[in-house]
């Protein structure tokens, strides 16, 4: 039975995936994509019926899991943020060649304005790079409707389809009208005659690449109804996509004269190459409103007819989020006079470590050990997680943060270049995400690198999702080839401070690779009892000796 619900944009995607009959949902947390997975996960837990929802070790693994579900003939959703798609890029670009069997929809949440990200890259570009379709909703209802359409397109075109959101839509909450829920029905495993399509050895891959390019006109045709030309009067037009489309629509409620402008409305790529010349023939001047990179704008500029205003000619700022105010300014619409801003100096209230967070104790032990060893200007490689907050004043404990997993590899590189001591700080989840191969390299390198693994037992930053490395960190470290004598497990608590400083000094002085694990559960996770059930099971298990407890450190 169709029903309504209040949902965020990303949640609408998750909800639609559930309703469209997915068998599996996978993802790696990252703002602003996280709630999309959590929504579908909650629905699946409430009514599993053979469905699975699982956070993966990283985005590539999540994507591969989804591809497996698709291979087995079922619909599947995979979720991540824009920088996560870089991690999954290998899988994503190659899945364009294998094609899919059960519908595969990829939710990517971009973060223009970098509210909580390392860069503002536009995933539409990566879809184009992979020669795959991307749908760009502009309202919460469209998030839902487009996801349904994405599943249908994925199955009819036999390729993965991306649904691309941006922060403002991902975190826009609105009423949603749902369709009837489908039960997952499998198409069965990929048939024998298609096996070669899935084996990307060069001879097959060459053939599949030709097939993929040959499919482009079919993609254009299938997506054509999502892009449209709206005739108007005057020689000034607008080209709008995504949130640009949403903002323009609303602006023309307040300024009805805008409705008369000829419009190019884009919601899906690849788009019909005839659309732009047809539009440009009607106008001499165009304002382009799209979120993030000038994708549409570049296409129009390439046609070289009339004046094109947007991010490239400076009518809009080159970086940062698109906002309704920017549209008003570009279109020279007067803005209302509001109250004057407060003249008081308002200091920024930045996020900070929760009171009593173990990360703080770990950093203090490291900083004191470095001071004791007389390292005047220590440079420490950090990573992505709550512990990144240590980069801020006054702590300033880490001095480089680049991408998930980079801390270890960069520290090894720096040690190879002569930096000593060379310290990497990484969380347990980030370690599982992409620290493992880097640690393998560290172990093999033999250089003096000290890897601090801050193990809070969950993914702290995005809301205490389970860490794939839970209770496994030391075993992994040993398995990577770090000698047991160079592996220490410490408890980051104030009363352990002296002992922790000593242990850090030992690790820093050791001429080869060493690993120090600081383990204390995230305060928020304890408060919410996230691991309570897990720990009880583990305890019962140990008491009854019903299975090996070796996994327990």
């Amino acid at each position: 039975m169709a029903q309504g619900t209040l949902a965020l944009g990303v949640e609408a995607v998750g909800c639609a995936a559930f309703d469209a009959g997915i068998k599996g949902a996978f993802g790696y947390p990252g703002t602003p994509s996280t709630e999309g997975f959590e929504f579908v996960e909650a629905m699946i837990h409430a009514a599993p019926e053979g469905r699975v929802a699982q956070w993966a070790a990283n985005e590539k693994v999540a994507y591969d899991l989804a591809l497996g579900v698709s291979y087995a003939g079922h619909r599947t959703l995979v979720t991540m943020k824009h920088v996560g798609l870089n991690v999954a890029m290998d899988a994503y670009a190659n899945s364009a060649l294998t094609g899919v069997r059960g519908g595969l929809v990829l939710l990517v949440a971009d973060d223009p304005g970098m509210h909580s990200s390392q860069n503002e890259q536009d995933s539409r570009r990566l879809a184009k790079f992979a020669w795959l379709p991307v749908l760009e909703p502009s309202t919460v209802q469209e998030c839902y409707d487009f996801t349904w359409r994405a599943f249908e397109l994925s199955e009819s075109l036999q390729v993965p389809v991306m649904v691309r959101l941006v922060t403002r839509l991902a975190h826009c909450r609105a009423h949603l009208v749902r369709r009837d829920v489908l039960t997952p029905t499998g198409l069965g495993v990929a048939p024998r005659e298609t096996i070669q399509d899935w084996v990307l050895i060069p001879s097959n891959a060459r053939r599949r690449y030709v097939d993929l390019l040959a499919k482009q006109p079919r993609m254009v045709e299938a997506l054509a109804p999502m892009n449209r030309l709206v005739a108007g009067s005057g020689r000034q037009g607008v080209a709008v996509a995504g949130m640009g489309r949403a903002y323009f629509e609303q602006l023309s409620l307040e300024h009805p004269e805008l409705k008369a402008m000829p419009r190019l409305e884009v919601a899906a790529y690849p788009m019909d190459p005839g659309l732009e010349p047809a539009f440009l023939a009607q106008v001499d001047e165009v304002f382009v409103f799209e979120e993030d990179y000038p994708v549409l704008e570049e296409r129009l500029t390439f046609q070289r007819a009339g004046k094109i205003h947007g991010r490239m000619d400076g009518s809009l700022p080159r970086t940062g989020e698109l906002t309704p105010r920017l549209l008003k300014e570009a279109l020279s619409l007067l803005t209302a006079d509001g109250k004057p801003a407060s003249s008081l100096d308002l200091p920024i209230r930045a996020p900070r470590f929760c009171d009593g967070c173990g990360h703080v104790d770990a950093y203090e032990a490291m900083q004191e050990a470095l001071r004791n060893l007389g390292v005047p200007d220590a440079r420490v490689f950090g990573d992505i997680g709550c512990y990144t907050l240590a980069a801020q004043e006054p702590m300033s404990a880490i001095h480089a943060v680049v991408e998930m997993g980079a801390s270890i590899s960069m520290a090894v590189g720096a040690a190879m270049a002569g930096q000593t001591p060379s310290v990497a700080v990484i969380g347990d989840s980030t370690f599982g995400h992409s620290g493992l191969p880097a640690l393998l390299t560290a172990a093999d390198s033999g250089v003096n690198v000290t890897v601090m693994i801050l193990d809070n037992r969950v993914v702290g930053m995005t809301g205490q999702q389970p860490s794939q490395a839970l209770d496994q960190v030391e075993r992994m470290v040993l398995g990577m080839g770090i000698p047991a004598a160079q592996v220490q497990v410490l408890t980051p608590l104030p009363r352990q401070h002296e002992a922790n400083v000593k242990a850090m000094e030992t690790a820093l002085q050791h001429p080869g690779p060493s690993v120090v694990v600081f383990r204390r559960e995230c305060i928020q996770s304890i408060r919410r009892g996230v691991l309570k059930e897990h720990d009880q099971e583990l305890k019962a298990c140990a008491e009854q000796a019903c299975c090996s407890t070796e996994a327990r450190p």
């Binding site: 209040l6 703002t31 509210h115 909580s116 502009s138 309202t139 919460v140 922060t167 403002r168 839509l169 975190h171 826009c172 909450r173 609105a174 009423h175 949130m243 489309r245 949403a246 903002y247 629509e249 609303q250 602006l251 409620l253 307040e254 300024h255 009805p256 906002t323 309704p324 105010r325 008003k328 803005t335 209302a336 006079d337 509001g338 109250k339 004057p340 801003a341 407060s342 003249s343 008081l344 100096d345 308002l346 200091p347 920024i348 209230r349 930045a350 996020p351 900070r352 470590f353 929760c354 709550c386 907050l389 930053m461 809301g463 928020q524």
Partner: protein, 199 residues
């Protein structure tokens, strides 16, 4: 010809204060009152005590933009006085503010409280609430948010019964006692603004 008016509410506070949950109550109440409403939220690391900010837009016609432009909001609901000052310029000239007096000093360089209050009192349409005192009187530690909502409700086109229903449903899982306490705080807030507007 009159264009449909689009109304905006801004919510400001600090992570953990319940800014987003207040915004959701307002969103649902407006929707149940037959209006079109959208909410937008910015909360990178909300549990870590940073600024948290949400917006609700509503109108009689369908909306597509969840963001309010500067100088266009009608109402500001702030759970903290310094955070209130951050969003004053979001308000239109005759916009209203309901602000909790209770500071959250979890940062360096929090300005002297008297300066913060003085700056707020200079803003026309500002209603300051001593939520600490109110919480004590009602014997309900978390009364502040609901009291502010009660005050704010004076400026929103939502019938009493709808507020009552939405709040009741929101706290249903926590039991009748909690629900009652919250309704009580809401009503106390409503009473306060009557005084303020009456003067």
């Amino acid at each position: 010809m009159s264009e449909p008016r689009i109304h905006g509410i801004v919510f400001g506070g600090v992570g953990g204060q319940g800014v987003l949950s207040l915004a959701q109550i307002v969103l649902e109440a407006l929707r149940r009152s037959g209006l079109h409403a959208l909410q937008s939220e910015i909360h990178g690391m909300s549990q870590r005590g940073g600024s948290v900010h949400a917006q609700v837009c509503f109108s009689e016609v369908p909306l597509s933009s969840p963001i309010i432009d500067e100088g266009c909001a009608d109402l500001l609901i702030a759970l903290e006085p310094l955070e209130a000052l951050r969003y004053v310029a979001m308000l239109r000239m005759n916009g209203q503010l309901v602000v909790s007096e209770e500071p959250q000093v979890n940062m360096e360089g929090y300005p002297p409280l008297d300066d913060v209050y003085a700056a707020l009192k200079k803003v026309r349409g500002c209603h300051l609430v001593d939520t600490e005192d109110l919480a004590r009187k009602l014997n309900h530690r978390q009364a502040g948010g609901m009291a502010l909502l009660g005050m704010a409700s004076k400026f929103l086109p939502v019938p009493d019964a709808v507020w009552h229903d939405v709040i009741t449903e929101r706290f249903a899982a926590k039991g009748a006692r909690v629900t009652e306490k919250n309704i009580e705080a809401f009503n106390a807030g409503r009473g306060l603004v009557q005084e303020a507007v009456g003067v």
